[in-house]
């Protein structure tokens, strides 16, 4: 993909490129036209031809009209939260793709929402989930040769404290009672929830760059939850390291975006809120901030949709 030899240009241009030791397409695109002219000693016109050829050779996404995007998206566009009032606020739930941020004060119900999502994601599409028509969907051979049935599932990456399995168990019981007709009785919804614990930033990086992609490649995961993205960063970086922190956060955000787009699944990130003290007037005002400047961390720049729990 990166070789310049396969470019659709005059051989004399390719020879000039080789002489200038420009071998990758990226290095050509990173140079300005004037720079290219100087290093390759090609004419202005040749350089413009070359830049076009390189641009066309790069694997770029095709143009789509908004209409084709609209027709391509199915009716059950969103993932339900399992609560009619919240679904009403959100036009039916969270987006099927991209990163959704859930921010709120402690004990406002962020984790509750996430657990609920882990369960509703397993429902078929017409019920607000992301599951396909048939259940179960995949049979994965185990190491010992035993086959087990797996439905559409979710990954829950927990960073703050131990995974609240007791609460999930309570929720599952209620969920199964209400949805018995929809779910195959042989499937226990909590079997489809994969839990991972990240103790520090490096751990989390390892998970989202190496282990998560492997799991996602199996194709049965329909939702990834990170609870919470901010907790680790708040502990590990001091005030003087904010720019470093922002940098790492940004690259995490980009990686999550990439995965979300590749596998066409939603990501949910839980975020904490920080208090902003305004002392403009004599009285010191405490304000629980969210959305305005940064809920906990400036993760928001990478978020498509933010839910503020109050």
């Amino acid at each position: 993909m990166n070789s310049v030899e396969r470019l659709d240009v005059h051989p004399r241009i390719i020879t000039a490129l080789k002489k200038a030791r420009l071998t990758s397409q990226a290095s050509i695109l990173c140079m300005s036209a004037a720079d290219l002219q100087r290093t390759t000693k090609l004419s202005h016109f040749d350089v413009s031809i070359l830049l076009k050829a390189v641009s066309y050779a790069l694997p770029s996404p095709a143009m789509k009209t908004a209409l084709s995007l609209h027709l391509g998206s199915s009716k059950g566009q969103r993932l339900s939260l399992g609560c009619q009032i919240l679904d009403g606020c959100l036009h039916g739930g969270i987006l099927k793709q991209g990163i959704t941020e859930v921010a709120g004060e402690s004990s406002s119900g962020k984790t509750q929402i996430c657990l609920q999502l882990c369960l509703t994601v397993q429902l078929p599409e017409e019920k607000g989930g992301l599951g396909g028509a048939g259940h179960p969907v995949a049979i994965i051979p185990q190491v010992e040769g035993v086959m087990i049935c797996v439905g559409w599932g979710a990954v829950y990456i927990s960073t703050e404290d131990v995974f609240p399995s007791k609460r999930l168990h309570q929720l599952t019981q209620y969920f199964v009672k209400n949805q018995t007709n929809l779910l195959n009785s042989s499937i226990n919804p909590s079997d489809n929830i994969f839990i991972e614990h990240a103790a520090d930033v490096d751990d989390l990086r390892n998970i989202i760059t190496h282990r998560l992609p492997v799991l996602l490649n199996r194709g049965t995961i329909k939702l990834v939850i990170i609870d919470s993205i901010a907790a680790l960063f708040r502990v590990e970086y001091s005030f003087s390291e904010t720019s470093k922190r922002a940098k790492v956060l940004r690259s995490f955000g980009a990686q999550l975006h990439k995965l979300s787009h590749q596998h066409r699944i939603p990501f949910v990130c839980v975020n904490q809120v920080s208090d902003v003290i305004q002392s403009e007037t004599k009285r010191v005002k405490w304000k629980s901030q969210s959305c305005y400047s940064c809920p906990g961390l400036g993760m928001v720049q990478y978020v498509d949709y933010a839910i503020d729990v109050t």
């Binding site: 990226a26 695109l29 990173c30 300005s32 004419s43 202005h44 016109f45 040749d46 830049l51 076009k52 390189v54 641009s55 066309y56 790069l58 770029s60 996404p61 143009m63 789509k64 009209t65 908004a66 209409l67 995007l69 609209h70 998206s73 566009q77 036009h91 987006l95 793709q97 991209g98 904010t242 940098k247 940004r250 690259s251 955000g253 980009a254 975006h257 990439k258 979300s260 787009h261 959305c291 305005y292 400047s293 940064c294 400036g298 928001v300 720049q301 990478y302 978020v303 498509d304 933010a306």
Partner: protein, 315 residues
């Protein structure tokens, strides 16, 4: 301009000298002055060669510019009055927000670059989509009747939202058509135009490019001029956002600045050559002052110096 020099009416003697010196095509001679062309020729002869080549290759270009600048002898130059008239004829894209339109002098100007920056969740994407719909308002309503290109780098182009905005715009225009006090012929023209201004038509005229890294964005900036040739009705390019792909995993800051400037340059070129509006969305970054620890304020990320007008969207 890759025309071989041998096809020009030049004597074989000159041609031979030119080819020995490495001049093969008309393009090679384009920026060469008679003095630079030292082929052991008299300067007058060199001048004649260059004039022959240029007179046969350039007349199409100069005649085009002459049409606009009627009373001008120097090709490529225009007087300020002509430019004023030209700009007024371009029009602008209304935002449907009166205060914003007033601020911008009637809407987002065509032929220029406008930057919107603001904190996340403030409504930049909303403005971008709204403009992509508004650029399509038919001539009969004083719109531009154009098409829009939407370059999405963040994945925030949510088609449901576009449908909602388009439906609202259609409803609004219908309301305008019914309530305005105009004569019958104009009204019938407007109702005729409304037939083509429906949600599905609007959606089919928004061309969406999804870029996943900055390389794709740069490649796209080289490819877009070709796309614009095929779709001459495009009057608006929205880049949402220009900063996103450059803000993560990018260590070489000098390279980043150069690439961003190059991108801005190619967008300016497109804006001028095709008479279209370019709207760039920019993110915000926090500047912490070292002198006053704890004091910080938001400034636009990746300062782009090239835009004509910059709008801070604030709550």
């Amino acid at each position: 301009m890759q025309r071989e020099l041998s096809t020009f009416p030049l004597s074989p003697n000159y041609l031979q000298k030119l080819s020995i010196a490495g001049y093969n095509t008309a393009e090679d001679l384009k920026d060469v002055s008679p003095i630079e062309l030292n082929l052991s020729l008299e300067r007058e002869e060199a001048l004649r060669i260059i004039q022959t080549v240029r007179s046969t290759t350039e007349p199409q270009q100069s005649s085009k510019t002459n049409q606009i600048t009627s009373s001008n002898n120097v090709p490529g130059s225009k007087n300020a009055y002509d430019i004023l008239l030209q700009e007024q004829s371009y029009g602008s894209i209304v935002t449907f927000c009166e205060q914003l339109d007033d601020m911008l002098g009637g809407g987002v100007p065509v032929g220029k670059i406008t930057e919107f920056c603001g904190a996340p969740g403030i409504g930049k994407t909303q403005i971008g989509i709204q403009l992509a719909v508004d650029v399509q308002i038919p001539d009969e309503f004083g719109g531009l009747n154009g098409e829009a290109i939407y370059i999405d780098t963040e994945g925030s182009f949510i088609v449901e939202r576009v449908v909602d905005i388009a439906a609202a715009a259609v409803k609004h225009m219908e309301h305008v058509a019914h309530s305005s006090e105009i004569d019958e012929t104009e009204r019938s023209l407007q109702t005729e135009a409304m037939r083509n201004f429906q949600v599905e038509n609007i959606l089919s005229k928004i061309y969406v490019f999804r870029c996943h890294d900055y390389m794709q964005l740069i490649a796209l900036s080289h490819v877009l001029p070709d796309f614009l040739l095929e779709h001459s009705k495009v009057k608006l390019i929205v880049v949402d956002s220009i900063a996103f792909q450059f803000r993560h995993d990018f260590d070489d800051l000098a390279l980043r600045t150069r690439l961003l400037n190059g991108l801005a340059q190619s967008f300016i070129k497109m804006a001028c050559e095709n008479q279209l509006a370019v709207v760039l969305m920019n993110q915000m970054t926090t500047r912490v002052k070292t002198s006053q620890l704890g004091q910080s304020h938001l400034i636009p990320a990746l300062g782009l110096q090239t835009c004509t007008s910059r709008l801070h969207v604030k709550k």
